[in-house]
């Protein structure tokens, strides 16, 4: 493969017709840095209609080109329409890389069009490095449940496709470029070519207990949790005025719902106070926590979680929890 034949790095712009998904802006900001090193242009690809004021936000992130795609099939999401769009555009313009925010829909179509193009797709990188020797992007991501970091590359094929979780990179706009080239494309996918048809949409009922993304205080239980001890942690959370959350193994054990899963593959949280019990400290989990005060309780003094905490207690989690409940109750009385 001649790598010279593939130019520019693209960012898929996800939006609901009104506002751009934050992950797309985060990606524009991060990929701008890669482009500065590689000499590629940064291109934002916008399927469907979007107001100028929103497009300006993309411009602020330092894009060189904007591809505006009109046509049928973008009023509502479908795998087919989005996959068709990227297959057609990639064949025409030959980008070096395509980045897609790992929303539910981003994760739905990105691997699909990558397979149609017979190219590689990576997911959930936490770091992106441009290697000037190989001219490949190094997607650095936690592997084996976060016990190790793996460098993934796509050395022989283009485009390099990657989905990135929301919140992984910071929104730090590099500023508007003097010249932004605007390209207009029309690509349509007809309703009869889409095997899914939207019948209804129902927004989630707001259940404050299940919304941990904005919680000020969070008590999190990890794999060290005994099934029968769960009520104790609910009680502690209530006493602290905190929301109860969990790590992935606890959700896998079906003890708590997925919406309470903290981490890269769950919810990213920014609480003032975060206390975790029996959490080992896998990268996937800790990257999801940005806490002002981070407290860890674990029986294993070598647990990685102690490297991320401000304060830690080495000890039996249930004993510490029980003691905290008692002390808080005493203080109330």
């Amino acid at each position: 493969m001649n790598k010279d034949a593939y130019k520019d790095m693209w960012v898929h712009v996800e939006h609901d017709g009104k506002t751009i998904h934050p992950v797309s802006l985060e990606l524009c900001c991060q990929v701008r840095k890669l482009c500065d090193q590689s000499g590629d242009g940064l291109v934002a690809v916008v399927p469907g209609e979007l107001e100028q004021e929103q497009l300006d936000k993309l411009s602020d992130c330092g894009i060189d080109k904007l591809i505006l795609v009109s046509g049928q099939g973008y009023d509502r999401y479908s795998t087919q329409a989005y996959s068709n769009l990227y297959v057609e555009l990639c064949e025409k313009y030959r980008p070096s890389a395509v980045f897609v925010g790992a929303s539910v829909n981003g994760r739905d179509f990105a691997p699909h069009f990558a397979a149609r193009l017979e190219t590689g797709c990576t997911s959930d990188a936490t770091e992106l490095i441009y290697n000037p020797q190989t001219r490949d992007i190094e997607f650095v991501e936690p592997a084996a449940g976060g016990k190790i970091m793996a460098v993934i590359t796509i050395p022989e094929l283009r485009p390099q496709v990657g989905t990135i979780r929301p919140g992984t990179f910071k929104y730090a706009p590099a500023g508007k470029r003097e010249h932004i080239q605007i390209i207009r494309e029309k690509i349509s996918t007809l309703p009869e070519d889409i095997p899914t048809k939207l019948l209804a949409y129902k927004a989630n009922e707001a259940d404050p207990e299940l919304d941990i993304s904005t919680a000020q205080r969070v008590v999190c239980v990890g794999d060290g949790l005994k099934d029968e001890s769960l009520p104790m942690y609910r009680e502690l959370a209530a006493l602290l005025g905190a929301k109860l959350a969990a790590t992935r193994p606890v959700v896998d054990r079906e003890l708590l719902p997925y919406r309470l899963q903290v981490g890269q593959s769950g919810v990213m949280i920014k609480p003032k106070l975060y206390i975790c019990f029996g959490v080992s400290g896998a990268v996937n989990h800790v990257t999801g926590v940005d806490a002002e005060l981070f407290i860890a309780v674990n029986r294993d003094e070598n647990a990685a979680i102690f490297n991320y905490c401000d304060y830690g207690i080495v000890g039996d989690m249930d004993e510490v929890c029980q003691e905290m409940i008692q002390a808080l109750k005493n203080a109330q009385a």
Partner: protein, 262 residues
């Protein structure tokens, strides 16, 4: 009759994996293998469809011969047939090569109306297999499927709820369909003794690269995998925090609550 395929994977229990502090590599020895947790939810959904509408559930897995164990787990809770795709030539495959291999192997078994997968695996965790299988099978794709509500075999369509970040959409979908399943409505099934005994004796079909006519060998295993892993390294750990050491749990907790109060 509905022909249902459920794709499963044997994974190491990564929660039990430890890193060798000397070499920085993962210690795999002694780490037990298991059925990928989310695949058990996909299987529950496949079995539920079979129980409601009739049909046959085939479980398929690609992996080493030892992966037979997870297929027997699936048979023990009600899968009808189990197929293991196993061959050294398939080794080291990424999702692109794996999706091609599974589709190629499945084609030797017949046409499938419904194909179920877990949302992602415990080990690779790319969450890409569903989308890439849908592309390979030229099927509709419903990721994060929450509940399959109605299935009309004459019309060849079904109605399914799909979970998004902020709500649930209801879709009408033309078959064939590939689903990745949410676990909410399809909890893991626990086998009974009778199921376990039957699964122990059951025949598992083996598909090697020789059993797939017109298999494109440039598209399987390592050569067919565009993503490579040039290196791994241990996560860089920040400096440890302050470990409270006040002499007793009670004293530690008192100190902790004082810190929180500040």
């Amino acid at each position: 009759m509905l022909n249902i395929l459920c794709c499963v994977k044997q994974v190491p229990d990564v929660n039990q994996m430890r890193m060798d502090p000397e070499t920085g590599s993962l210690i795999r020895a002694g780490v037990p293998s298991m059925l990928n947790p989310q695949d058990s939810n996909a299987l529950s959904a496949a079995l539920k469809i079979k129980e409601t509408y009739g049909g046959q559930v085939t479980v398929i897995s690609m992996g080493p011969p030892a992966a037979e164990a997870v297929l027997r787990e699936c048979l023990a809770v009600g899968a009808d047939k189990a197929v293991l795709i196993s061959d050294k030539a398939f080794g080291n495959a990424d999702t692109l090569a794996t999706s091609y291999t599974i589709r190629s192997a499945a084609e030797t078994l017949g046409h499938f109306d419904l194909i179920f997968c877990g949302k992602e695996t415990l080990d690779g965790a790319t969450g890409q297999m569903g989308a890439q299988l849908a592309q390979r099978f030229d099927a509709a794709f419903v990721s994060s499927a929450l509940l399959i509500k109605e299935l009309d075999q004459d019309k060849g369509s079904l109605i399914v709820d799909r979970e998004l970040e902020d709500g649930v959409e209801t879709l009408e979908v033309r078959m064939p369909v590939v689903f990745t399943m949410e676990k909410t409505n399809y909890p893991t099934r626990i086998p009974n003794l009778k199921g376990k005994l039957a699964a122990k004796k059951a025949q598992i079909s083996l598909i090697s690269s020789m059993d797939i006519p017109e298999l494109d060998r440039t598209r399987i295993g390592d050569p067919g995998s565009p993503t490579k892993v040039p290196r791994m390294f241990p996560p860089v750990l920040p400096e440890p925090g302050v470990i409270l050491n006040e002499g007793s749990t009670q004293a530690n907790v008192a100190k902790l609550l004082q810190i929180i109060a500040e």
